[in-house]
Symmetry: C2
Subunit: 140 residues, 2 copies
């Protein structure tokens, strides 16, 4: 099969910690700002495995995934290139520690999320929060 | 950003027709057999737009998507290369007509799906059917 230029598959992980908190990382590379832990899916790697790997690399946390949420694919969601992110929800214990592409990793209470969240991650966080509270998924 | 070799994002669409029927296409190219309508996502194209486009190209039907279901990413799901398929559910009226990569397109009753369904589309069909009947999504 010829190789076409495709959008790049990525994952992002909403890591829930005890105390109604969620983990964000501060990016080392542009766009700078807070973001969900995540990254590119490797050739030969399942989405679920990529999500657990990226969470571990960027936060030090061993995440147990509970759910595949939704995929976000707007071509403008990443200024660098067209990415399609499948979002997972998972749980972990302990405190996050920034690593790899993350200069910092911190747990925020849902009620006190930082400003300056990059990409469409503010939208993802709002969608997941609503889903956790109501069971309602974003409709098409 | 350097270009890595990534899995290729695809879509598949479970098209529901009146009379509790679902649309399958008979593939023109290997692997030969019945499959869900679907295909590769173009650079710059949203998943939803790819799903509507592929459904139209392969079945002639104007599909109204109702739901983004789940993404399937096992590296062995397609014998040709690693694809990650995001599955949509939608509705249409009229009768399907094969086109593009589909030699044939037909509506099957859920109770009478054909044998020889290729890829992991038998699993996807079973997962979607259970979801439509019970509201339960496949867990991780």
């Amino acid at each position: 099969m010829p190789e076409f230029r495709n959008p790049a598959p990525t994952v992002d992980v909403v890591i829930l910690l005890p105390g109604d908190r969620v983990v964000l990382v501060h990016r080392k590379n542009p766009p700078l700002g807070w973001a969900l832990p995540g990254g590119f899916v490797d050739e030969g790697e399942k989405l679920e495995d990529a999500a657990v790997r990226e969470a571990r690399e960027e936060t030090g946390l061993a995440v147990v995934l509970s759910e595949q949420f939704l995929a976000y694919s707007d071509p403008r969601r990443d200024p660098r290139r067209h990415t399609i992110s499948t979002v997972f929800v998972g749980r972990a214990d302990g405190e996050p520690r920034g690593g790899d592409d993350a200069a910092d990793a911190r747990a925020f209470p849902w009620a006190g999320l930082p400003s300056g969240v990059v990409f469409d991650h503010d939208q993802i966080l709002a969608d997941v929060r609503r889903y956790l509270l109501t069971g309602a998924r974003r409709r098409l």
